[in-house]
């Protein structure tokens, strides 16, 4: 992967996993809500991405927390790896540069100023 840009939905998945381990449904939900419903991860897209991200070493599978039950039994949980965290941060920084550029051109306002 390295410095190559992450696909948008990979970035969102990593972002969702950044502070806590989640299972598939929770990832979809969080991404869905954060993007105001613009990014809807259907199962194929989600698990296709997770499979590749596992292979790439961005995430690892973990056991569900003790006592966690959902409709389909105990689902798989995913945890972000240090490498995944780094990739996500790089992508965020890359995006932030564009935001800064937009601010410099006065397209959007600086946070805090009204």
């Amino acid at each position: 992967m390295g410095s190559a840009t992450l696909p948008a939905h990979w970035f969102q998945i990593l972002l969702a996993l950044a502070d806590k381990d989640l299972h598939g449904l929770a990832i979809t939900k969080e991404v869905f809500e954060r993007t105001d419903g613009h990014m809807h991860l259907w199962p194929g897209k989600l698990y296709g991405a997770l499979k590749k991200m596992l292979d790439a070493g961005l995430v690892i599978e973990t056991d569900a927390p003790a006592g966690f039950e959902s409709g389909g039994g105990r689902p798989r949980f995913y945890r972000i790896t240090p490498y995944g965290r780094r990739s996500c941060a790089e992508e965020a920084a890359r995006l932030a540069r564009f935001v800064d550029a937009a601010r410099a051109k006065r397209l959007i306002k600086r946070p805090g100023t009204t």
Partner: protein
């Protein structure tokens, strides 16, 4: 509904991926669908769920692909798979690059396949699905036949049934059914229930097993049994008793008598649902020999053919003729196979016509798709030539085309099935009885197999033509820049024109069919009915026979008198048989002052017992003589009002008033004086010829247990319903009121099947027309774009725009005109199959043919003019630079 589909498609995933993720994906899919459903309208939600299926498909493709590329390349099977996958990827790329064209193709196929699937599911349910009885080939319906009267299929008489039952040697079981109705009391609201009286052999002949309790057994139908027994139909059991199994063994109250429920019948059509309860028909010591009212069902002995049984029963009928010459003269017995039960010949014919029509629609869609694929193939001629030069084999290119068309037909089918479920659901919202067994129709395995086969065929056919037309011969000329107008191009134009010809022809065929049906419906709606439907209300009131004649008479008269007193009631009258209800009672009719013609059939008239205001309430016109008054009593002496047609038949050109008619000619021979003539009435339905009718006054016969009331209101008839109910409740709160309908509703219901057929065929024809015109438009637009340079040259050489325009339009219209002529000829030939669906329109009705031909021509002219107009904008200088 989507979850099973999703689970099925999960199987497309490679095994290991499915094991790992399948369950979670399914759970997540359900969650996603739920969320969408809450968030959006029903439609938006469904489309998004569809998105989920597409998402899964693409995941499956990607997973398979990565699996293939990671495996050893020496495995030939996998190589072949890889090639196919490669083709699929190529097509998907192509579809994405031309979204409009791809959407158009998939939608056309979806429409064609969806409509075909929906109609086939109805056809399957009505015509092909086996009856819910074991060995249906051995079940027959036994009917009487009286050729001298022209009756080919009449009910059995009680006595004849028992004679046939006892003497035959070919039937394993034989039973009869007759109709009865009871008032169910002992429940919150008294209810009229329909009942079937059956002998023990009836359900045994059908071979059904009860789902609870038992059926009637030998001995249950013997007279003098202490207790009364009843079987419940499945529907009545579920609706009235909430499918409570403990009802078996309990008693219900019918007509104030206790009946113990001994069992529940399984669900099914026909017979099992024909009544709500069934009671045993008692074998009486002196059965009635003259009244034809019993439906006979028999099961042939194992190994006995229908012909053998037929001969056996005919022989018995012959000996009965000599034993009882007065009642049985000329009467014989016929056996009808059980497969005719579900659909009459009329319904059968209608459905086949609809299936063929929708098949033609699919064919037109295919022709259009083939045309579009041809265009694309020829646009890629140069690419193919390059690939051939680089070593691609013809097989490679053909396989690619076929993959392409199959992908289109598979996607079209998937969406088509969705359309089909919606269409079917729409059809099932129609009033019950419009199409038999419609509620049972579904997209079952046979229907899906049929439409998959159709889809495969569509894929092959639409792909094969462009595949075989893939130019291979002269690579050099294909590669030459600006290679146009070559011989290959010209044959292709001819081919495309042939497709347009076929499309226009087929569309016109459907349009003529639809036009004939539209005219028929208009004919039916505007035919002189004899009666008036506006502001007419009908209800049925049922009275218990236990009340006795005096009380019944008093209640009936009381009800009619109070109904007349309702404000806004112009007339209220009672009749013994509900109009347009098909049920009919009849008698032989002759003029007393005319000699009998030996051998000639006796005219048959329906008879009705009516109260004095009946003619007013129904809107029948008095033509001569007088109506009944309350002083007229039935049979004291016999006086009658007859219909116009009956009067013209008995006394053509004479005044019938005061003359004497012989009623029940050949049976009772009762003379009756004609006191009036009223207008004809289409008593058996609008499409039947007006029947001959004989009316008797109800005076002296008001003790009926079923009162069919016809009312003429001055305002909206619906508004009178509460008042009518109140009046009847005031007279006696125990009388159930049923069949509350306006006359308009009754007429409209009686036309439901005809209306449905017409709308369906009209919809198919409309779609066919749109598709065919899209074809006309597409072919001409393409040819104009190909000929831009040539036209440019012509314009540069001084041709006038107007003349060029005309020649382009004419070139576009040529296949349309040829198609129209062929279509009309085919319609003339095929319309005879529709003859018995038509009403007062001949199959060769010139007006319809001319009108439809004109419609097609004019709209096609427009479809040609729009692309041809582009000619006007051609600038010679620019056009020549294209070369």
């Amino acid at each position: 509904m989507l979850q099973p589909i999703y689970r099925a498609i999960l199987r497309l995933l490679p095994h290991d991926v499915r094991v790992e993720y399948g369950a979670e994906m399914e759970a997540l899919f359900v969650e996603c669908c739920e969320r969408e459903r809450h968030r959006r309208t029903l439609w938006g939600g469904r489309l998004l769920c569809l998105k989920g299926l597409v998402d899964l498909l693409s995941f499956a493709l990607r997973a398979r692909w990565s699996q293939l590329t990671s495996r050893s390349k020496s495995d030939r099977r996998i190589r072949r798979d890889a090639v196919v996958l490669h083709d699929i990827r190529g097509t998907l790329r192509l579809m994405r690059s031309q979204p409009t064209l791809s959407t158009a193709i998939v939608l056309m196929l979806a429409l064609g396949i969806g409509a075909t699937t929906a109609i086939f599911s109805v056809v399957y349910g009505v015509l092909l699905k086996p009856l819910p009885f074991p060995d249906p080939d051995r079940i027959v319906q036994v009917t009487g036949s009286l050729p001298s009267r022209g009756w080919t299929s009449i009910s059995l008489t009680e006595a004849n049934f028992w004679d046939l039952h006892d003497r035959n040697r070919t039937l394993e079981e034989f039973g009869i059914l007759s109709f009865e109705s009871f008032t169910l009391t002992g429940v919150a609201e008294p209810q009229r229930v329909s009942a079937g009286e059956v002998t023990t052999g009836f359900f045994r002949a059908l071979g059904v097993r009860p789902i609870a309790g038992r059926l009637f057994e030998k001995g249950d139908d013997l007279p003098g049994r202490g207790d009364r027994l009843a079987l419940l139909s499945h529907r009545f059991w579920t609706e009235r008793y909430a499918a409570d199994g403990s009802i078996v063994g309990r008693a219900i109250t019918l007509d104030n008598q206790p009946y113990s429920v001994i069992g529940v019948l399984p669900p099914g059509t026909p017979w099992l649902d024909i009544a709500q309860v069934f009671v045993p028909f008692e074998r009486r010591p002196k059965p009635n020999r003259g009244s034809f009212e019993y439906t006979g069902i028999a099961r042939l002995r194992d190994g006995v053919t229908r012909e053998a049984a037929q001969a056996d029963l005919a022989a018995i009928s012959k000996s009965l003729e000599s034993e009882y010459p007065t009642t049985n003269a000329g009467l014989t017995t016929l056996l009808e196979p059980s497969r005719r039960w579900i659909a009459t010949d009329q319904v059968r014919r209608t459905l086949w016509i609809l299936l063929w029509s929708v098949g033609l629609l699919l064919l037109i869609a295919c022709l259009n798709v083939t045309n579009l694929l041809l265009v694309r193939a020829s646009a890629r001629a140069r690419e193919n030539a390059v690939r051939t030069a680089l070593g691609a084999s013809r097989m490679d290119l053909v396989r690619e085309r076929l993959t392409e068309s199959l992908i289109y037909s598979v996607s079209g089918t998937a969406i088509g099935w969705l359309l089909a479920t919606w269409m079917l659901r729409g059809l099932q919202m129609l009033p019950a009885g419009t199409v038999p067994r419609l509620s049972e129709a579904s997209l079952n395995i046979w229907v899906l197999a049929f439409s998959s086969a159709a889809a495969l065929l569509v894929g092959l056919v639409t792909g094969l033509v462009p595949a075989l037309r893939t130019p291979m011969g002269n690579i050099v000329s294909a590669l030459r820049p600006g290679a146009r107008g070559s011989a290959g191009d010209r044959t292709q134009t001819r081919l495309r024109n042939a497709f347009v010809t076929a499309e226009v022809g087929l569309a016109l065929l459907l349009l003529v069919g639809a036009g004939l049906l539209v005219r028929s419906l208009i004919g039916v709606l505007t035919v002189d009915r004899g009666f008036t439907t506006a502001n007419r209300l009908m209800v049925t009131v049922s009275l218990p026979s236990s009340y006795g004649a005096a009380r019944l008479t008093q209640i009936n008269e009381d009800i009619l008198a109070r109904l007349k007193a309702i404000p806004g009631m112009a007339a209220a009258a009672a009749v013994n048989v509900r109009p347009l209800s098909r049920g009919s009672v009849g008698l032989g009719l002759a003029a007393a002052d005319k000699p009998d013609t030996p051998g000639a059939p006796v005219p048959w008239a329906t008879w009705r017992v009516v109260t004095p205001d009946y003619f007013k309430a129904m809107g029948l016109r008095l033509i001569a003589g007088r109506e009944f008054t309350s002083q007229d009593l039935i049979a004291k002496p016999w006086r009658t009002v007859i219909s116009k047609r009956a009067a013209d038949l008995l006394w053509p050109g004479e005044n019938p008033i005061g003359k004497t008619a012989i009623l029940w000619k050949g049976q009772g021979n009762r003379p009756a004086e004609i006191i009036g003539v009223v207008s004809d009435m289409r008593e058996r339905g609008l499409e039947q010829d007006p029947t001959l009718a004989v009316y008797f006054p109800a005076g002296g016969a008001m003790d009926a247990t079923t009162l069919q009331i016809v009312m003429h209101t001055t305002g909206r008839p619906e508004d009178a319903v509460p008042a009518v109910r109140t009046v009847i409740r005031d007279v006696d709160p125990n009388l159930p009121v049923s069949n509350v309908r306006t006359m308009d509703e009754i007429v409209s219901l009686s036309l439901a099947t005809r209306r449905l057929t017409m709308w369906l065929l009209a919809a198919f024809a409309g779609l066919a027309l749109v598709l065919a015109l899209a074809g006309v438009y597409g072919v001409l637009a393409y040819s104009v774009s190909r000929r831009t340079a040539e036209i440019g040259v012509r314009l540069a050489l001084g041709a006038e725009h107007r003349n060029v325009l005309r020649s382009v339009v004419l070139a576009g219209m040529r296949p349309v005109i040829v198609g129209a002529v062929i279509g009309l000829a085919a319609a003339i030939w095929l319309s005879r199959f529709m003859a018995n669906l038509l009403f007062e329109v001949r199959p060769h009705d010139p007006g319809t043919y001319v009108a439809m031909g004109a419609v097609v021509t004019i709209i096609a002219l427009l479809a040609c003019y729009i692309p041809a107009r582009r000619v006007l904008r051609i600038d010679p200088a620019v056009a020549l630079r294209v070369e």
